[in-house]
Subunit: 254 residues, 2 copies
């Protein structure tokens, strides 16, 4: 059974600690945290250390810290030649200290502290310096998820940008829609089935094909009414730019 | 049992014809279509007429045609004093001919011809000129959906703009994310669990609270890397504007 150590105590570290501590196919042997209390709702006090010199042997060390801290944290590890991976969507494999065998273990999901995540459907994007380590990482990833992909550092950079569009920007669209509802005494709940259906649709068909609305129909009257309705200048600019962007991608349909 | 006639043969008309023809609590007595063949996969030939003078009596006539055609189609009906509603998200109740009792029956959902919709969870937004007609519309709506809201024409205009943000613009974000994947030999499937989780999250918490990513973290390095990574100027402008918009709404978190 693969032994794993988690380094870090933030959002991703906490989610990983929870899922690995529940896994029956891998063993979370320890976690390192400068603030051990952040992990004590998931792990017992004996499982957590705040001293790097106390780190035990493991097959994989997962550094789940902020992007900026990866280089430093990896350089502080008091051992060499072991498999040490980070979890960042945007940091190159090379950023970690090269005394250890480097890799990436990037769970592509949006993690909030308040909401538990079903890890079985979280894609784990893996990268390593050599094929043997890839196999170890793949075996480890499969103990918590059914979806595992090899993703190079260059691809991961692209994937991270794509994830910003389909998750962070999408959530912001929800936020803006909710604000319009709120300003007009409409409950946000009324939009929730539409939000769900819009997300469900692209599980079955490409988004280009699923596109609906005034922009793709080139419904100039409705677009003009909407732009006129929106008073906030930033919102107006966003509406116009997004409408143009939809039209530029769907030119053949117009 | 309420008797309903559907006028129109487009996307929404087809979805309504399907769901009303299956309902056991209301009766679709007829449909009118200039091109009856558009409805023959849902209704029998005897149920469809292309002559307004053949329209039978019903409790509610639902005009499901394009926004621009509502005024004209409603003026062509050869009767008066009956309850006639349109299904548009953005056309005022007053736009219909006033010889009949006017109303709105707006199903707030994204309809594609290729994907069936579970109407039980489609919010139906209702409006009428008087309270008695509202009760009829509410009774009719409840034969196909569990979610019914009173929504004024002014609110419906706002709701339609909000729907463009949370559905049309969201789908376009999926499209842009998919394009980035495609350009970098990454399967779009890898983003699907993230898309689902992002939509699921706001069923439980407000979008403002669910916001994650470099913009809300004010992670300047990652934002700069992303802007640098994006070569297409329109995409770059969108990324920048959306990042700024997130930051302006989440100022207190930064």
């Amino acid at each position: 059974m693969l032994r794993v150590v988690i380094i870090g105590s933030g959002n991703v570290a906490q989610h990983l600690a929870r899922v690995f501590s529940k896994s029956e196919d891998s063993k979370l042997v320890q976690a390192f945290a400068r603030k051990p209390q952040n992990l004590l709702h998931v792990l017992s006090a004996e499982q957590v250390t705040d001293n790097v010199n106390d780190l035990v042997e493991a097959d994989v060390y997962i550094i789940a810290v902020s992007d900026d801290a990866i280089a430093e944290v990896s350089s502080l590890l008091p051992f060499s030649g072991r498999l040490v991976v980070h979890t960042s969507g945007s940091v190159h494999l090379d950023a970690a200290d090269n005394r250890n065998r480097r890799g990436v273990f990037y769970p592509l999901q949006t993690f909030s502290k308040k909401k538990q995540v079903d890890f079985h459907v979280v894609p784990i994007c893996l990268e390593s310096e050599n094929a043997a380590d890839y196999k170890v990482l793949e075996q480890l990833a499969r103990t918590i998820s059914g979806i595992v992909y090899p993703v190079s550092s260059a691809q991961r950079q692209a994937l991270h940008v794509a994830a910003v569009f389909v998750s962070n920007f999408v959530n912001h669209m929800y936020d803006l829609g909710g604000e319009i509802c709120n300003d007009n005494a409409i409950p946000f709940d009324i939009l929730k089935p539409l939000i769900k259906e819009t997300a469900d649709k692209i599980q079955e068909m490409p988004p280009r094909e699923a596109q609906t609305g005034p922009a793709v129909r080139n419904d100039i009257k409705t677009i003009a009414r909407h732009v006129n309705f929106i008073k906030d200048n930033n919102l107006k600019e966003l509406y116009t730019l997004l409408t143009q962007s939809i039209q530029s991608k769907n030119g053949e349909k117009l």
